[in-house]
Symmetry: C2
Subunit: 509 residues, 2 copies
């Protein structure tokens, strides 16, 4: 058991991250100056992050983290960056007109924290009203996009890099599936792994921005200007979902919607597989059971939804429209991006519900995706099948295989526990949401509460009814929005790093 | 691995059960004759069950069942009794007016199977319209009640008696918790265990009927005549929920509602604990962690709902009414009975949703309760807590205790698997229900589909909206009602005995 948790080391590493947060914060600062908007909000955030960062960094020289220190560092970093990231939103609320979501009232400050946390956790649920979308500066809108991109990068580094062994079950299997260990042998140093991920992530983002802007230059997408192209590149590769457009990707031409889909799909693909693809090795993805599962889910759910839309008498549309809307919104929710090509809240209940169902699946482990993830579901389903066998042959020993490797029993148990824990916490969140709505006399239906809770905790973004993709979360009480901030944070860093902080055993020797 | 499954033995034992089904079928037959109603429906069912029963019984002399034969026998018995039990409902449909749920159309025959399966599985979801409640004979209404009581008895025998080791995780733990092994030592023979359960079950039913009828004789419950007293005794102790009254227990005086509650609570209490109580040993229930969990859930959920009803401006009521309705409906849904004291579909979303949440919990293992059951949740929650500990101390070995006993790791994994499997199947059922509603152009909202699916698969009974406690399931398409019949069957016999029949390994050597 050993010694007390070395919280100083955790804080120190978090401090380093916060110090470097000044660099991305400089981007909207430059845009604010360029656009002639007030730069104060970003200057303040930069000063705060450098001061807090350096102060924390000085707490310790020891950068070697144990298991507990790593949990603490992950939890602290997501908390710290979200807190600093909310400063620009809080400051635009100074003297803002009452139509703005951001103000200096308690509710307004909670909104600033909500928007920042929703950004960093790549959730993409917004509290911004139509007024905000029209009247906030481009700098603020860009900061929303940028913090999502940073959140995606952060989770990639945690999932594949240094801390991979902390992610329940997933990491060990991801290595198995993709032979990451071989990658590691090739590139044994953490720095190199991080650089590899960073290169892929930046390259994919640049490719997305280039593709979107090319459509504009070719005249196929008049309103996809450079700002929009970059903004959507940042949040599609990060499977994050914020858009500077109040109507999300629905504001753009069909060809743009088709162009966005591959980047959401790639953003939710294991980055180690993407690395193999860039090396010209196409057999790796084809051999990956998880990849086939992920693609199979996308195809079958979109086909089902397209069929429902096609036969629904109240939903008009050409075949192209029906297929596109079915595919786009399934891709968006399975990858946990949360863009919308149309207001799916208006769809018939069957189609809406399938989208809700899609939320729980998630893309591949080792990507920017959120939710439960295909890998965990794949192992769960295989373990179910095996359970049926062993219930009639209790004496049989039947190892569970993924690809060529045997999954060990503890990993299976931990994956069961993780999936179940996620569903139980989602359930408890729904209970809080409906009970608090009753307390605050907010009119929230049961399915709105269920949809919003899933969307928040699984880091999707939009939900249904009054919390649909063309609407926002400002309708929830301040208490509910505060709890949702916490739940986005817990969901994004995969529950355990936060929950363990609540156990006495974490802090005692 | 051994030999092929000995399906003849399974069929033979099922045959014996079917043969004896003639005895309870004689009860409504006598009532039909007494009331001057046509006895044909029951005569036909008796002839069918005796013929089929004896034919099946002759298939084998070997009454020693292995694991697989026991699974098959349980699945067959519930199927066979439900099929025979539907004959009276099907036959009253001969020449029935179009207002009746039962007719000789496909939909009408499905309704007969639905009502019978819903009865035997102690679900209590009905397809009977207001017309049926007013116009069906007392004999038919009594058969509905009686088949529920038989279903409760059957599940008790499976859960505590011969087949206890087949129920995933639950049985081993139930023995642990309640020291059933000691009971067995005292009474080593299966026959004695069955007789013990039978005695308790009959005694409890008689006590319930006596209590309800006493209220009538004392003038406190004018419409609780002998027929109603017996009818409600049969389905409260079986936590089953059918009522000959279209308004369920809401049709009776408040004092009746108070009187019904203890019998639902006792019906969902482990019968081994009840045995100890009859022996004057009150320490056993107080020491049982599961019992305390079960009572804690009942108290906290009812308090929460009562508070919501109390502060809701749209819901009027005295303090007694508020407390009674909160407690009654929570007790009804946690025990999986499915009675209603009022139309909770009219309640605010917060209260309705908490009732939905209540459905997933269930009463104690070793009782007539359905759903997931308190014991499994208790182990799951304890295992979650331990997981947090081991995720920071991976090297630590920390056995999970229930009472004074260590729960073994395989049991924990199997319980995780069971709870997750139940939730996944529930989810898949919701998908079927909404997709089929879209196909059939039935107007079913998302939450109605979710509520009805939970209620059917967890064997509760009523759901919400148009499938609320004062309504019925006739609004679903024939396809959906057919799938629901299958799901009630799967849910009641705890999933595994049915699913294993679908694996090739079950039928091969
Ligand atoms: K998202
Ligand atoms: K029931």
């Amino acid at each position: 058991m050993g010694i007390r948790v070395d919280w100083r080391s955790s804080c120190s590493l978090t401090g380093t991250v916060l110090k470097w947060l000044a660099v991305p914060l400089a981007v909207p600062l430059v845009l604010a100056v360029f656009d002639g908007d007030g730069p104060l909000a970003f200057v303040a955030a930069i000063v705060a992050t450098v001061v807090v960062g350096i102060a924390l960094e000085r707490l310790s020289d020891d950068r070697d983290l144990g298991q507990r220190e790593a949990f603490l560092m992950v939890a602290l970093t997501w908390f710290g960056v979200a807190a600093i990231g909310s400063i620009p939103f809080a400051l635009v609320g100074l003297g803002a007109p009452s139509a703005s979501a951001f103000s200096t009232s308690v509710g307004g400050l909670v909104n600033a924290a909500f928007e920042s946390t929703s950004g960093l956790t790549t959730t993409g649920a917004t509290v911004m009203s139509g007024w905000d979308f029209e009247n906030q500066s481009r700098a603020i809108l860009l900061w929303r996009q940028l913090i999502q991109w940073l959140g995606g990068l952060g989770i990639l580094i945690v999932a594949i890099g240094l801390l991979s062994n902390l992610m329940v079950g997933g990491a060990q299997l991801m290595e198995t599936e993709t032979q990451t260990r071989n990658v590691r042998k090739l590139r044994p140093h953490l720095d190199e792994t991080a650089r590899l991920i960073w290169g892929l992530y930046v390259g994919l983002t640049a490719l997305a921005a280039g593709t979107f802007y090319a459509l504009h230059l070719l005249g196929a997408a008049p309103n996809m200007d450079l700002f929009n192209a970059v903004s959507h590149a940042l949040t599609s590769v990060a499977t994050a979902g914020f858009s500077p457009e109040p109507e999300s990707v629905g504001a753009f031409e069909p060809i743009v919607q088709w162009a966005v889909m591959p980047f959401m799909i790639l953003g939710a693909t294991n980055f180690v597989l993407l690395y193999y693809i860039t090396q010209g090795d196409i057999r790796q993805p084809l051999q990956s059971e998880e990849f086939r599962f992920y693609v199979g889910v996308l195809v079958s759910l979109s086909a089902l939804i397209a069929a429902i839309l096609w036969i629904d008498p109240a939903t008009d549309g050409t075949l192209e429209q029906t297929v596109r809307h079915g595919l786009f919104n399934v891709v968006s929710l399975v990858t946990t991006t949360g863009y919308a090509s149309t207001d799916f809240g208006l769809w018939p209940a069957g189609a809406t519900y399938l989208l809700f169902f899609s939320m729980f699946i998630g893309g591949m482990a080792g990507s920017t995706t959120c939710s439960i993830k295909s890998l965990r579901w794949l192992v769960t389903l295989k373990a179910f099948r095996r359970n049926l066998f062993t219930s009639i042959h209790p004496e049989a020993v039947r190892p569970l295989r993924l690809g060529n490797t045997v999954v060990d029993e503890e990993t299976i148990r931990d994956i069961y526990a993780y999936v179940l824990l996620a569903i139980v916490i989602f359930f408890l969140l729904t209970v809080f949401v409906v009970v608090d709505a009753a307390r605050a006399s907010t009119a929230v239906t049961e399915f709105e509460a269920i949809g919003a809770s899933a969307s928040i905790f699984l880091n999707i973004g939009p939900a249904f009814g009054q919390f649909g993709p063309m609407d926002n979360y400002a309708g929830f009480s301040t208490a509910t929005r505060t709890v949702m901030i916490v739940m986005m944070w817990i969901g994004r860093i995969e529950i355990i790093p936060v929950l363990v902080l609540l156990t006495p055993a974490f802090w005692k020797s």
